[in-house]
Symmetry: C2
Subunit: 207 residues, 2 copies
């Protein structure tokens, strides 16, 4: 992805413009650091070191480590904005809201190719899988786990993730027909209640 409008405007304003390839070099260093060390062990400082720039410049161009990860993975939307808008309304109907948002996002033409690329790349190796797990999936699951709020919350949220990733794989990567061409509304009404059952539909495990 290119610069966000905000950081692009700031760069153009003249305060420390840097060489034109600086931003690309930081992003490339970030991808290498994340792949080599995983999300948790890579730091803005180690990325700056690898890119041979001042750490302040990494922060200036990319913000936080989460911001940098979303750009390194080339995720075309920000889950930190999307997910809280679903969980804010509580757990009732959350399964259908998640299904609707997920399918609407993936059905959007300019989203689909980058999202397919994220799924594909996460399958290529254990480091790539770890990056999706520790970074992107963590950002999505956090608010969902918080709203479930029982002993099985993490497992419930991951079962939801399993259905969503499976839908991504079958509808958008493998392109199984008729599922790939099924109208969004019909898929949402089939998948939503199954997500809801994972969220609140059975007893929690004994302590």
């Amino acid at each position: 992805m290119g610069a966000s409008p905000a950081s692009g405007a700031r760069a153009r304003s003249g305060r420390r413009p840097g060489r034109p390839d600086t931003k690309a070099r930081i992003l490339s260093a970030a991808k290498a650091e994340f792949a080599a060390k995983g999300f948790d062990r890579a730091t803005l400082r180690s990325i700056a070191l690898a890119a041979e720039v001042d750490p302040a410049l990494v922060h200036h161009y990319f913000g936080s480590k989460d911001d940098l990860l979303l750009q390194a993975l080339e995720v075309p939307f920000d889950p930190r904005e999307v997910i809280p808008s679903l969980t804010r309304q509580g757990i009732d109907g959350l399964g259908s809201r998640i299904a609707a948002t997920f399918i609407t996002l993936w059905d959007t033409e300019e989203m689909q190719m980058p999202l397919v690329a994220v799924v594909r790349s996460s399958m290529t190796s254990e480091p790539a899988a770890a990056l999706l797990r520790e970074g992107f999936i963590r950002m999505i699951m956090g608010p969902i786990v918080a709203v479930i709020d029982d002993r099985d919350a993490a497992l419930r949220a991951q079962l939801v993730a399993s259905q969503l990733l499976g839908l991504a794989v079958t509808r958008y990567v493998l392109l199984l027909e008729p599922l790939a061409s099924e109208p969004a509304a019909r898929v949402i009404e089939r998948v939503g209640p199954n997500l809801q059952r994972y969220l609140d539909g059975f007893d929690v495990a004994p302590a």
Copy 2:
């Protein structure tokens, strides 16, 4: 995968032993043909031509095109034996039987690595995806579609496939915790009823 016991025994009995690398050469030609042309357009004859052997030899070593595909994909079990044993008992409880069989298979140590490899390789490219779709998934879905037997049967079966593939990705490829370490029985009791709802749990679409 190596020779099946039956064909291995036949080869050792002396009738047309062939060069020791003939079988490997056929398998390599089959992989290339399947990747280049897809499952439907590759034929035993075109594979024999690419391997520079008599078509009868392809049949001798590998049986049918489905047999050859399972060996080319290195699928460690034969869905043509496993799936009918589940559908033979009808649609009642089929969701739980599918969940139990799927998870037991994937939890088996010697199955897991080859199955992960099948999923990973199917994600790498559209030809690889097409091969999984036209070959392996078709073999699994066929008997399930037959036992559902309503207008939405193909969609229902693919929704089941979406949940199973998503479970494969999250529990065995991405290794999300706690899902990856959850006892099989607990996963089966959570996933089984969701599969059953896809199989028979909502009204079919209007004609």
